[in-house]
């Protein structure tokens, strides 16, 4: 009997396909209600820090340098009140084999796939993760398929994604390119079923655990170099894995007093599944279009329970505008002699602003950089935006309308990290838990879980539940 390959038919087999393709039975961590045992999942399906360092080290991943941005710090101090302006550092993750921190996630996932005997790996990603999986698959001698959302219905592709396809193919991967739409997941499932390859999801425990080495290294490097932990670490936030893994690594290093800040590019008003709006944005990730939905509902990912749960670790969540990130990208090249891609520069724009709130002896770290080049260079990105009818000019970034304009700050003093109300995000997460899982009655274990998930308090969670008439 032939299988039902329609959208609905395939989606109905989703759990069965996923179990085959990830090798994890998520059911054993479930409570049957809201709560699930996150730490048990991380412990039993992940790797120890030592194992991960070994796995990553064997393929040249990790141990990236930290660089002090002295000129950008000096520039921030020009705008800051007297005595303010923390030292700004970056962790140069672009020096990983595939050009970004994603090599850490991919190293673990591909190692795990090989260990379990899979012949190949598949990942659904338009970004650096695809290149990272392809690079690792090449090293381990596994086959690799990357599924990308790349073009709009006119066949016009985001230059950054087209570059990523080139990079994946350079490592010997097959790239399946699609037009806009959430049914990318359908194609992804179809390929998993057809090939029997491993799902190198961004959101498995081993993938997220792979980023823990980053946070751990970071704390160790600062202790060695400066003699103390940094005060603030800024992570560009999309699916939440970068922030989650980094924060977990910091905790494993005992650096629990570090404040963890998430930063996303503000793309408010743009619909991520819209064909017409697809090419009206200048960032393909690290933006609020992923950052907000994944923070308030992490289990929307391609595995039943995402290991990326950013709200557990986030002390603060800020946005910056596209124009501000472009400005900082250029300033990083001009003042520091470092040409880097957009991902880490989102955090850098935020850090440039937050540094001005902190004292001069304090330290703020941008925990990643990524490679740049044709397609994903600011020149290419801005030129593409202009061709798509986006207005580009100097002015006040507050005036930027995502999808309509990119306002380069007319003075760096206008670069401002804008705070989200954390309690509002936490409430939104709890609301999603209740509505999506159709919860009417709640257990004490659920409440405890929600406190951890939202890094809040028992009283806060009780209050939110009361507002929704749930006891």
């Amino acid at each position: 009997m032939s299988k039902d390959m329609s959208y609905q038919g395939l989606m109905a087999r989703r759990n069965e396909i996923m179990k085959q393709a990830v090798g994890i039975d998520y059911a054993i961590f479930e409570s049957g209600s809201i709560a699930f045992d996150y730490e048990k999942m991380m412990r039993e399906t992940g790797y120890t820090l030592e194992e991960m360092q070994k796995i990553q080290g064997a393929t040249g991943v990790g141990n990236t340098p930290i660089l002090e941005l002295k000129n950008l710090t000096a520039l921030a101090r020009k705008m800051a009140p007297k005595g303010k302006g923390a030292r700004i550092f970056i962790k140069d993750e672009a020096s990983n084999p595939s050009g970004s921190f994603k090599a850490r996630r991919a190293a673990n996932a591909v190692y795990h796939a090989k260990k379990l005997g899979y012949k190949g790996v598949i990942a659904a990603t338009s970004g650096n993760y695809g290149a990272a999986v392809a690079s690792q698959a090449a090293m381990h001698g596994l086959k690799c398929i990357i599924v990308q959302e790349c073009y709009d219905s006119r066949g016009v592709g985001q230059p950054e994604i087209i570059e990523k396809a080139r990079k994946c193919e350079a490592y010997g991967a097959e790239v399946v390119q699609l037009t806009v739409g959430p049914e990318l997941f359908y194609t992804f499932l179809k390929l998993l079923e057809e090939t029997g390859y491993f799902n190198a999801s961004l959101y498995t425990p081993f993938g997220i655990a792979g980023v823990e080495t980053l946070g751990y290294e970071l704390a160790m490097q600062f202790r060695e170099r400066i003699g103390k932990d940094p005060d603030v670490v800024v992570c560009t936030n999309a699916g939440g894995g970068n922030l989650t893994g980094t924060a977990r690594g910091l905790i494993k290093a005992g650096a629990e007093s570090v404040s963890v800040v998430g930063a996303s590019v503000n793309l408010q008003g743009l619909h991520m599944a819209s064909d017409e709006q697809f090419n009206r944005k200048s960032f393909t990730t690290g933006h609020t279009g992923f950052g907000m939905p994944f923070s308030t509902w992490p289990d929307r990912s391609d595995v039943p329970r995402s290991a990326a749960r950013p709200l557990r670790y986030m002390d603060r969540y800020v946005t910056v505008s596209q124009g501000e990130v472009f400005y900082m990208t250029e300033a990083l090249a001009q003042l520091e002699g470092l040409e880097r891609g957009p991902a880490g520069n989102t955090s850098l724009a935020a850090a440039f602003s937050i540094a001005q709130e902190l004292d001069e002896e304090q330290i703020i770290v941008v925990q990643e950089t990524e490679y740049t080049g044709a397609g994903k260079h600011i020149q290419a990105q801005l030129s593409f935006a202009r061709e798509n009818g986006i207005e580009i000019r100097f002015g006040n970034p507050e005036e930027e309308i995502p999808g309509t304009s990119i306002i380069l700050p007319e003075h760096p003093r206008l670069i401002k990290a804008r705070d989200f109300d954390m309690n509002k995000i936490r409430k939104s997460y709890i609301k999603n838990c209740l509505e999506i899982r159709e919860i009417e009655k709640i257990t004490e274990a659920d409440i405890e879980f929600l406190v951890q998930e939202t890094k809040s308090s028992y009283d806060f969670v009780k209050e939110v539940l009361k507002e929704r008439n749930i006891e």
Partner: protein, 102 residues
């Protein structure tokens, strides 16, 4: 343009027609099909526009419409963006100059 058996080519497919698309897609996206492009070694001589079979780099057999022979990377650094020049000049001037704390 004619492709010879064994040439590296790009093929095109409609994955889901407009009617078959997922219920949650927005209005504008629902109006258009979900399309895909894959590259591989073509299994027969063929003209652009013909339906062909390719073997991809991972060894999968895929059928689709032949759209490009020896598909090239055409992405680049785009057109010159003169505004970018001003950023370095300004930042360096502020660093060197006498702007003070506000």
């Amino acid at each position: 343009m004619k492709a010879k058996r064994g040439d590296w080519v790009k093929i095109y497919n409609i994955v889901l027609t407009s009617e078959e698309r997922a219920p949650q897609v927005p209005e504008d996206t629902r109006k258009v099909p979900l399309e895909s492009w894959v590259k591989g070694f073509i299994q027969t001589d063929a003209e652009i526009g013909q339906s062909v079979e390719v073997i991809t780099i991972t060894g999968r057999s895929v059928e689709g419409e032949l759209v490009e022979i020896h598909p090239a990377y055409t992405h680049n650094y785009g057109k010159f963006v003169p505004e970018l020049l001003q950023i370095g000049l300004q930042a360096r001037a502020i660093l060197a100059g006498g702007e003070v704390h506000e």
